[in-house]
Symmetry: D2
Subunit: 359 residues, 4 copies
């Protein structure tokens, strides 16, 4: 919200916003001034206070927080706590009512719901996940959906599109695909590709096209912040780690040894350090190796991509697309569909997709 | 030579050979058994002895050197010292005679001359570099060409193609372009992209498509071996360093601060360690950074690419191509022509080019 | 054994042997030619074959294995499988008989038993660990000791000294201290400090004497080899990791956040790569950081220290020392006693101790 | 000045101040409230403005700059531009007058002059450097001293002690040693050991006591800020680099291959990144390696050491010491005298020295 307000007020440039590159810019995408932000927030801290905390942590400049104080107070009025109710059916109804109310009060053409909540554990399968009728029935009596999937369900029923920026379940259930189709809602995901996995998505194809044999790929992510605390939970960690290694098998055609680990160190705060060790063999079996360290601020990397995804998903919705948007794989660690996992190919797909939207 | 003999004898697989990937394999490329190696060698050490030294240094397996002893002795007979003469015109004539003799004795369809000599200093311009008639005249009385360019000149006149695996001048003079055209010889170059620059050619485009602002990119290459000793010479170093940073400006559209340095440390031997530090800015100016260390054996990385280039250049020659081959930019730090500098785009060009050769 | 034979034959210098430094050299230490090696080996592979495998993996030079072939065959005759029996009391008796037989046949003054077996899980306490009488009784009917402790027990009863180069229990039980005292045997340990922890033992004191506040210290050890496979077992891993972080609390006076992880990657073989990230604060709270990567061959680092420990422990035994030898803390991750954890102070203690042995 | 004011006002703790460690604290050292700061400053920017710039760069917290605004304005009145005059004799006289005036106005017991100006090129020898009479005579007619040495000369004549925190000449000339002796002034230096060299001073001894053979040690320092800009000058760079490698020969007893380079990258600002690659051999010649990256803020590392040195030098002066203070080698890259270069030994010397001052 701070970044979008800064862009609108021309207090910051669009560094990190992919949709502002010459290859993607164009008339199909909303102007920054046309975007309105709302949200269901589990945190009670007001937006302006949260912005101050981010400034103190070096994530955003203090001068922006001061300059945009009025906008941040204004933004607060579109935020609500998550609705509570006895059944998931009722929670979904309340979520949908909030979304419709938000759309009407702000006279919006379209609403894009983006899941930026923290990672959920991998779910246990349930028969109600398989079809929409079964799901509708089950929601009235049981808790069968994790929060991310319930949000997707409510979004589709309210005619909104849905983007999952996390490795959680989100829209990835047959019953929800049916819901999206029924309501003609597009959706995108999963798990924003911001740091270590972004680098993997260019290095793994590099080894592949050079016909070098990657023998192991091990990594350690040291991170603090709220996301880190959650990922210290082994169940959430498992979901995340699976998402992080997927690119290797896809790009290389085989799974090298090694794993990617996540360690929570509160002291590290919003800046994450990832170290990867890659061992590989060249001609006649010569053993070689590469290491990289990525020291990035996940918030600063993710925020502009969330803006990009909102613009692109809204434009796709406007253009009549519904169901999964595999062409947005560029943004994700674990993209929907069978698209390429190499960043360069994902970029080419994204350019083609966006040019078509511009017409 | 060891590697090609090992491939022919099926004692090693084609790891590192790009032309053995499914996307490039095909009938236009010579089989390993069809290749014959010769050379003008400045080193008096026999091939078999040099192979033993490489095995002792861990660059190639000892078992291959033993198993291929006969082939290496056989290879020796195609090697000659560089011819000596008073004028460069006469040296060129002798070089050409050697090439023709090699072609006839081995009943070869085509000869590809590959410059794998050490890096030359940047040359001083001379009027005779501008046109072939002037060059022909000058060579009879003056030393106007560095060795790499004289080799290109002799190669073209003998109807051979030419590949420059170094950052030296090679065929990059107007007079030599004229010679290539006259003799319908194709040529490729410059400077094989084996390690640090290979990584740059995927990371720089990654920053570009994510619209992240690279503020500095500094590197240090610590290397030993014969190449390292030569690069300790400031003049050669300057040529090499310029070649190594070129990809950044091309891929990013601007030149970040920083330079790439080369340090000679004899102890490091044939294995090179390169460290790069990249600082960049994300959304709202957040400062972030990335480091990588590449620990590679240049010989093991370069050798299969030399085989690839020989196959591809011969196939292009056979297909009637002459003059520069910009489609081989995938292999080079400083490619001929105005082609892309991003590895993924170079790969796409190479695939298209090679498919066309296969027909 | 290969190394000791090479030293004896003057085919290699004593690089890595601390007792060959001018500060420690002297008459109290056995000459290389006076040492005889035996062992209880769980691996059936003959020593000469194992040496060939190490040479193929680049751990020791092939030329030494060839040159010392006779010595390695000779060494084989002093190796035995671990004795098997129904009760631990009986196993201990057989182990002791082997040790006495080895001493007599080779007319040795003293035998030093060094545990270089793989890491054991942390043990469950048992009342019999508390006193020797109870232990003697329990061994006749129950399995109450892990293998490392049973070896220490047998060693002491046979009048041998004992060194634990692993983080296993070894002699660290009250009942075994009693046994050592009764038989006037000295012992040393635990867990040879060969790589990452060695570096920690100089960096942590550096931060301490500069009054810099270490806020986190996280590490990942990627290792293959037999030791790595065992450490992939969570129980063994826990023992090792505890041993690796201990130095930080000791040297800094507080425990920074973060942990040290161990990952098994078979491909890495005998060479280990450890990466550590240290974040720290300076004056006025400025946040800074340091990273290091250690790429070492544990066998090559450990072997000379095992020779050093054998020499020093034998000399201490000869000088009449019994019980724990805290002055050998220099060699260990988790030293016996309350000695210093900073390497420089451990070195000073070792020099004093050794000078006293020389008289 | 900001830090000292913060310590005095108890707005910050003494992290990074070595003299606040329990081993060094004591009655001989001035309290923070007893220190008064003055200076000859080549920069016209007021202290308060400079402090704001440092806060914006993340070097010091903004809250301190606001809270200490009055103190920083007050500090300004003790700053002067460097005096200008035709002869160096006259400049020295004016410098001395300033120092005496500063001492009297503030009723100080002692004044310690600390050179924190940027690095000077290595000087050309001159006969007047050899004795004080010759120097006195030469200064009246020629420019024979670099600024750092002229400052030392003036300091001694004004009865002040002198600390050189840079690799410049400072007091290291026979004529100046004579001046120090005549005026009974102590002096210390050279070149504050804040980052990469600090790490070297613990790692090099670690390799030494483990009897590991360091075969190469190469480094690259990437730094911005005012100091970086000056070090881009090859002459200053040479002085600095020599100072940075000295510890290796001292600690190891031999000079490994490799060099330490300094690159100026304005973008890096006050934070410096140094990368070092160390290759070493272990038992039987096994090749191993270590890398480290140090990412530190030189100002935050240097400032508390400057306070420490002022306290310690004043206390030594008070205790009647004059001439060089080799016991302060702990603080310097290139210490005066023949003291140890290993940090742990320097620390032991410093503790002994300081305890003696406390009496």
């Amino acid at each position: 919200m701070v970044g979008a307000a800064a862009l609108r007020a021309r207090l910051a440039g669009p560094v990190g916003c992919v949709t502002e590159l010459p290859e993607l810019r164009g008339p199909a995408l909303s102007a920054w001034s046309e975007l309105v932000f709302g949200g269901h927030d589990v945190v009670a801290l007001p937006v302006a206070k949260k912005a101050e905390a981010l400034a103190a942590a070096g994530v955003i400049p203090s001068r922006l927080v001061s300059a945009l104080a009025a906008e941040l107070v204004e933004a607060e009025q579109h935020l609500r706590p998550l609705p509570a109710a006895t059944t998931q059916a009722e929670v979904a109804r309340l979520l949908g009512a909030d979304l419709e109310d938000f759309r009407e009060r702000n006279r919006l053409d379209r609403v894009v719901v983006v899941n930026v909540a923290t990672t959920e554990p991998i779910i246990t399968p349930h028969p109600a996940h398989q079809d929409l009728a079964g799901l509708d029935a089950a929601l009235a009596r049981e808790h069968v959906l994790p929060p991310s999937a319930l949000a997707a369900y409510a979004s589709f029923r309210a005619g909104c599109s849905f983007v999952d920026f996390t490795p959680s379940t989100g829209a990835r259930l047959p019953a929800l695909a049916e819901a999206a189709a029924q309501h003609q809602s597009p959706y995108a995901g999963n798990d924003g590709k911001t740091g270590e996995t972004l680098v993997k998505s260019v290095l793994a194809p590099m080894f592949a096209v050079r016909h070098l044999q990657v023998t192991s790929w091990s990594g350690l992510n040291v991170l603090g912040g709220g996301d880190g605390a959650n990922l210290a939970d082994p169940a959430a960690n498992a979901a995340k780690v699976a998402s992080k290694q997927r690119v290797l098998g896809d790009a290389l055609g085989y799974e090298p040894e090694g794993t990617s680990r996540i360690d929570y160190v509160a002291e590290i705060g919003d800046f994450k350090t990832a170290w990867d060790l890659i061992t590989f063999q060249g001609f006649l079996g010569t053993a070689m190796r590469m290491e990289f360290t990525w020291h990035g601020c996940d918030s600063a990397l993710a925020a502009p991509l969330v803006l990009d995804l909102a613009r692109l998903t809204a434009a796709a919705h406007h253009a009549g697309r519904s169901g999964p948007l595999p062409e947005l794989g560029f943004f994700f660690k674990d993209p929907l569909g069978d698209g390429p996992s190499a960043l360069a190919e994902q970029w080419a797909e994204l350019v083609t997709f966006t040019k078509a939207l511009h017409g």
